[in-house]
């Protein structure tokens, strides 16, 4: 039945008639089975589905649930309306890691536009081509001729590796040393990278907090400099320790010391007070800076030729959009004995939209 039966046909409800006990009983049963939508707070377990056709149903309460699941059928569709132009939302944030194995990266050269350098055979070679045999670790290795151009390369990340609409939490570069070097480079010459983004005409850059790219909002710590709250800095080169720092508290003018660089902590969330006193700054170790941690020895640097990871941590205030920006990695500190295998990006998202 589509709804409750009549207690009796309408023509049997005559004037002056007295309902019988069966009428009362049926009325009682009918009211008992009906849905109390005014008070709610009830659970109904119908033996057959309650089918709402006609003009349908509208849910206007934010706490409606699919506790038992729901399914589309027979042409029924879930349609996202134009009222808020929204997409399905996830009740809690989700994370995902996308890894770009650089074996398929196009060869790109920074600072040298001679055609021969662009040609794959002279640029960054898949490792099997270098070694001529398999199996070998796959990755990009860099010829001495290429590195003579400065040891820096630039990789444009294909759009399919970017989760548009997500916040990037961290980005890591996996690499290894294919032979034991004779010395350890200075901290700023260790393998490192910076993520940046160009617009369509390459006339503007997206700020990716904290932004270490040229002109970005994270500079090298300066003597006697006034820093506003939430400023980002990296230590100066001799003091680079693999982390970046955020001004989480300032007093007075928030001016850094004019004589001494702080002794930077190397544990996330640890703090150091710069220029203690009325105008002090409290710097918090907030994330990895995207460079190999300064090794204590050549052997540590070499790591037995085993994979190593370089990571940059963002502060969670970014939203990536590969429909409007081209994401580019600037990689430095390259040497003939360094092979890069992959780039992994950790994304945080809460909306299911088009990536």
């Amino acid at each position: 039945v589509s709804h409750g039966d009549f207690v009796r046909p309408s023509h049997q409800w005559a004037g002056e008639m007295v309902p019988g006990q069966a009428d009362y009983q049926r009325l009682d049963v009918a009211q008992w089975k009906s849905v109390n939508v005014t008070d709610g707070n009830a659970t109904y377990t119908p033996t057959g589905p309650v089918i709402i056709g006609g003009a349908g149903m509208s849910l206007t309460n934010a706490s409606s649930r699919l506790q038992g699941g729901a399914q589309t059928a027979l042409g029924g569709r879930v349609i996202l309306g134009t009222g808020d132009n929204g997409f399905p939302v996830l009740s809690s944030i989700r994370t995902r890691t996308i890894t770009w194995r650089l074996f398929d990266a196009p060869g790109m050269l920074f600072g040298d536009q001679s055609p021969n350098s662009m040609r794959d055979e002279n640029y960054a070679l898949p490792s099997y081509a270098l070694q001529g045999q398999a199996p070998v670790p796959l990755g990009l290795a860099f010829s001495a001729a290429f590195l003579a151009g400065g040891g820096v390369t630039q990789l444009s990340i294909p759009r399919r590796y970017i989760h548009t609409g997500a916040s990037i939490s961290s980005i890591s570069m996996q690499l290894r040393l294919t032979s034991r070097p004779t010395s350890v480079p200075a901290p700023n010459a260790l393998p490192n990278f910076i993520l940046t983004a160009f617009n369509a005409g390459a006339t503007a850059l997206q700020t990716i907090n904290p932004d270490r790219y040229v002109g970005g909002n994270m500079g090298v710590w300066q003597l006697n400099h006034s820093y506003p709250l939430n400023s980002y800095v990296s230590p100066t080169n001799p003091n680079l320790n693999g982390y970046w720092f955020k001004a989480t508290s300032i007093s007075g003018t928030g001016t850094s010391s004019n004589t001494t660089e702080p002794v930077w902590p190397n544990i996330i969330n640890n703090t150091v007070t710069d220029n203690p006193g009325a105008n002090q700054i409290v710097w918090t170790c907030a994330g990895r800076i995207g460079m190999l941690f300064p090794p204590s020895s050549v052997d540590t640097f070499y790591n037995g030729g085993q994979p190593q990871t370089v990571t940059f941590d963002f502060d969670g205030t970014n939203t990536l959009d590969a429909t409007a920006w081209k994401y580019v990695l600037l990689i430095g500190g390259l040497q003939p004995y360094i092979m890069i295998h992959s780039i992994s990006m950790l994304f945080v998202y809460s909306v299911l939209s088009f990536e």
């Binding site: 589509s2 009682d28 109390n36 939508v37 707070n41 119908p46 149903m57 729901a70 939302v89």
Partner: protein, 276 residues
């Protein structure tokens, strides 16, 4: 008050007698009246604002008419419940006509393009623009530079246009300005141009047509050229790949230095949220 209770037990309704509790006072009728006023009028519809959650378990509920979530309403799939919104009929979540998400642009960097000039490659990476630049080999211009770019598209969308971003390397006016086209290529390598009218040259080619050297160079800033496709080009990535193709400037007064930066494809009429 929750679900309605029985007013009397069945055994109190006896043939030939009316239970005194019905006649003694108006409670039975009043309760019946109150309850029916609180009940759902499934035939006519209406608006109810339940004081507490209404839970439909058992065989569940089917909505065979339109089901709308409005007024800030949400349909929450409880965390860790294992419950799913299941799509039958091979369907997907649909975007209502006019939904902002039904139109989007997709940028593809020319750095991901390929030099298809032939035996003498000359398109090299430009770190300044993250694109490809026509390198002037040994200071001598070599004609015939050509490049192809596999462009990002949205499967199922209507592909309406591509905006090419580029920079002209120096102030001059070549005999032949750059040509642009957009094509689809099937699995057998067959090329189909996606524009058939307003062409400069057969095969879908449209040529830049700057009036003079100043307009052509534009002070060396990034310029854009819009290539509008035929109407009704629906992207089908199951059968085709899509490419932007450029033939760089050539002929008398031609020079190297042009940079092709980005192809921005416009996708419209995206029907649903099928996987890409």
């Amino acid at each position: 008050m929750t679900a309605f209770a029985r007013l009397l037990a069945d055994n109190q309704y006896v043939n030939g007698s009316i239970p005194p509790t019905i006649w003694a006072n108006g409670v039975w009728f009043q309760t019946l009246d109150t309850n029916q006023s609180k009940a759902w009028n499934g035939d006519v519809g209406g608006t109810w604002t339940s004081a507490a959650t209404l839970t439909m378990a058992g065989a569940g509920m089917w909505c065979c008419g339109p089901w709308q979530i409005s007024g800030g309403g949400q349909l929450i799939n409880p965390s860790s419940s294992g419950v799913r919104l299941t799509h039958g009929d091979n369907d997907y979540i649909v975007l209502q006509a006019g939904h902002a998400g039904a139109t989007r642009t997709l940028e593809t960097s020319f750095s991901l393009g390929r030099d298809i000039s032939g035996s003498t490659a000359r398109m090299v990476y430009s770190n300044t623009y993250d694109g490809l630049i026509n390198y002037q080999i040994g200071g001598t211009f070599v004609s015939g530079a050509r490049l192809a770019l596999p462009i990002d598209v949205h499967n199922g969308a209507t592909f309406s246009q591509v905006v090419f971003w580029f920079v002209i390397g120096s102030s001059h006016l070549p005999q032949s300005q750059p040509f642009f086209r957009v094509v689809k290529v099937d699995g057998s390598g067959n090329v189909t141009p996606l524009k058939s009218t307003g062409l400069t040259q057969a095969g879908g080619w449209v040529q830049l047509a700057a009036a003079n050297a100043g307009a052509y160079f534009a002070g060396g800033v990034a310029q854009s050229f819009t290539y509008t496709l035929d109407g009704g080009v629906v992207v089908d990535t199951s059968a085709f790949s899509y490419f932007a193709e450029i033939v760089d400037e050539d002929g008398t007064s031609a020079a190297g230095g042009n940079v092709y930066i980005t192809a921005v494809a416009t996708m419209t009429s995206i029907p649903d949220m099928r996987p890409q």
